[in-house]
Amino acid sequence: MENSEALHWSFDYNYGAQNPQFAQQLVETFLKFYGGPKTDRIGAGTTEHIYNIFPNYWRGYAIREHLQDNLSLGEAIIRRQQADNGRWDYTIQYTNGTSGEELQLRFHTANDLYRSLRGKWHIQAQNDCQDSYSTFIGEGQQVADEIRLTVNQNEVAVGLIEKEIPFTCNWALFDVIPALSREIQESGEVVEMAILEDLEKLRPVNRIGFLESIEMGETQLDGYYLYGEGLLPSYWWLDRNGNVAISANFFQTLVLKEVVEVSA
């Protein structure tokens, strides 16, 4: 694949990205992973998917020290492990050099298609800016149909969810969309879900549907969209092994750069 080829519209946000090139760096990351030995999705044990985070709009959002060579503003690591009782334990590490925030999320889900949130979850944010905010620690849980968050001993009401609608964290969508992909494609229907964005903001009305299939280099990718109230559309591109290869929301594009299997 030539770097000069146009990317798909759902992750081609080239505005103001002349140097360094958004398309070039996205493709380089993609080919570095997909040009090497194929890494199958691993269903058990601890697996880490590591993503490069590219800013969709370069102008004004650069990390100053990267101005000349590196568009990436950080990394997202999705680590999950299945416990003996079948439950999935997730740890998300998200670093964003533009906001200065490093986010660590820990949560548990049921072993179902929707990776429904279970038990308590934990949010830890650290910020290395020169201002007074440096750490944020929260613990959340669902009590009946209510979502609550506790911060510095203060209880914060997050919102109410409807029991009939599947409910998970946006970061679990990296597993949910692959799990639902066959059903969505074959039925032509959308799947409705409630999402707890970054474990703290409730997005109660969302739908996931099939977009189209494309080829990128020698890799076939199946695209899915996520539309919802309070969300800008995001687009999710799956390889044939069920890995989310590219996930683009309005402001950032995550490109898979590494899958790590860690023995259980």
Binding site: Y13, G16, Y57, S99, V151, N152, V156, L232
Partner: protein
């Protein structure tokens, strides 16, 4: 509890007055701004001082109009001598905090406020997707831990829905497929075209040169990139704009939820507003910079989630004209600070505040009030919005080396747009050249000139004012000369 309330000023960026579900807009859902309305008074005739970020924010910082602050356009620098709200509050018994967007060139926010969060790289014009969530974390951390003796003033500058600007930039170079045709979205989800999508083309020269011509001074690449937009593209722009507002509404919700769980809930007064609006297809226009209602009219709510601060709740005020310059006097009023004293901090030639405290109105008191809103735009643009008529005009550029914002000077006034907001609230018919409106125009012009006579207009502060103002002035001059030839 302190005898003076805590003050929370929550502001969004680029939110028009009507982009709130509590005000009857069915195409977006803003449960948290709605909650502010239920707990306070919504002022439905609220206008920014200048429909662009840095300019209007210089008014928020000082209580002055933008021709007075040195920032009558986005690149201006605020004058050193003018005290800002952070300095004044910090020297008058309050602890003043800032979080998020500031965007007042020439004034170091970290020197005026205690800053909770201002980004790894100082936050600029946009980037809500990067910064707003971190700002909320910083505010939660603050509200749940603050144990200072002084009452606090906290201003939270959210960036969204400003990210709609990036949505528009994205269309400079490419097209996205029609998600209607792809079955991703349905027809009934898309908001309709605005009532004033078709408009009266007899606009000011300033509007033509800045926003309409192929080589428009402001965002020509966007303008030319969207010239062939069809109805779907405009409606999808509005749809996306509303999602940005829902995003920031959720951030506000987390802040309100947190406040409710703290002892500060009872005695914290909340002021909510936006720096300017978004055209969003009205008059086939995008972004701000213009003097149409969508660009200059913004939400303005004074609320208290508890009962410790007297505020009339769940009430619409449609009678009073509110301005962006009113934020500072309102804050000073709640803080018990004499505005005339406050303006003397660090300066010797203090003008009086242009604004008025909204507090008595929020408490339901009858007080003498202004009869029109006055708005400046793009250095030369002016609007006067009165009870029935709205008057938009412009100053013609004069001496290229005069870097003092124009006015009051009737001889330099250019074209006029006059709208009867009673009959034509969407500003679709310019009445200025029609017979029978001479008195209305004369009255509006008199109000404009009287208002400007009260201003302490200041030379713009900029390293190279010629680069900005003179070049723009040259473009305007060429256009005017072309008109006189034709």
């Amino acid at each position: 509890m302190n005898d003076r309330p805590n003050i929370l000023f929550i502001n969004t960026d680029q939110q028009s007055w009507n982009a709130v579900s509590a005000y009857g807009n069915p195409y977006l859902h803003t449960p948290n701004i709605d909650r502010l309305h239920r707990n306070g008074t919504s002022f439905m005739r609220s206008y920014c001082s200048d429909p662009v970020c840095a300019a209007t924010r210089s008014s928020w910082a000082t209580g002055l109009y933008t021709s007075e602050t040195g920032v009558p356009f986005n690149g201006g620098y605020m004058h050193e001598g003018i005290p800002d709200v952070g300095q004044v509050l910090n020297t008058n018994g309050y602890a003043a905090f800032h979080c998020g967007k500031w965007h007042v060139p020439g004034r170091n926010v970290r020197e005026s406020f205690h800053t909770l969060y201002y980004g790894a790289r100082d936050i600029g014009a946009g980037g809500g997707e990067y910064y707003d969530s971190a700002s909320t974390h910083a505010v939660i951390d603050f509200l749940t831990a603050y144990d200072g003796d002084a009452p606090f003033y906290l201003q939270i500058g959210y960036l969204n829905p400003h990210d709609v600007c990036e949505y528009l930039h994205n269309h400079e170079e490419k097209r996205i497929p029609n998600p209607l045709q792809q079955g991703i979205i349905t027809e009934d989800e898309l908001p309709p075209l605005p009532e004033n999508f078709h408009y009266d083309e007899s606009e000011t020269v300033l509007q033509q040169v800045c926003r309409r011509t192929d080589d428009a001074l402001i965002h020509a690449p966007i303008l030319n990139g969207i010239r062939d937009w069809d109805e779907f593209h405009w409606r999808y722009l509005i749809w996306n704009y509303y999602r940005f507002i829902e995003k920031v509404d959720a951030e506000i919700g987390v802040v309100l939820n947190t406040l409710e769980g703290t002892p500060f809930c009872e005695d914290t007064v909340i002021v909510f507003s936006a720096d300017h609006g978004e055209a969003c297809g009205s008059h086939q226009m995008f972004q701000k910079f213009t003097l149409y209602e969508e660009s200059i009219r913004v939400p303005f709510i004074v609320a208290c989630l508890g009962d410790g601060v007297p505020v009339q709740k769940n009430r619409f005020d449609r009678a009073h004209f509110i301005s962006g310059v009113d934020v500072v006097p309102t804050v000073y009023d709640y803080a018990g600070i004499d505005p005339s004293q406050a303006t003397q901090v660090n300066r010797s030639d203090g003008p009086s505040l242009g604004g008025m405290s909204v507090r008595p109105l929020a408490e339901g008191d009858r007080v003498p009030w202004r009869e029109f809103a006055y708005v400046e735009s793009n250095y030369w643009g002016r609007a006067v919005v009165a009870d029935r008529y709205k008057y938009v005009t412009e100053y013609k550029p004069a001496d290229p080396e005069d870097f003092r914002p124009p006015g009051p000077d009737a001889s330099r006034l250019g074209r006029v747009q006059l709208f009867d907001l009673g009959e034509d609230p969407w500003e679709t018919q310019n009445l200025a050249s029609q017979p029978g409106y001479e008195d209305a125009i004369d009255s509006c012009r008199a109000n404009l000139l009287a208002q400007e006579a009260r201003l302490n207009r200041r030379r713009i502060e900029h390293p190279n004012p010629r680069q900005v103002i003179s070049n723009w002035g040259d473009s305007l001059r060429v256009y005017w000369e072309g008109l006189s030839v034709s």
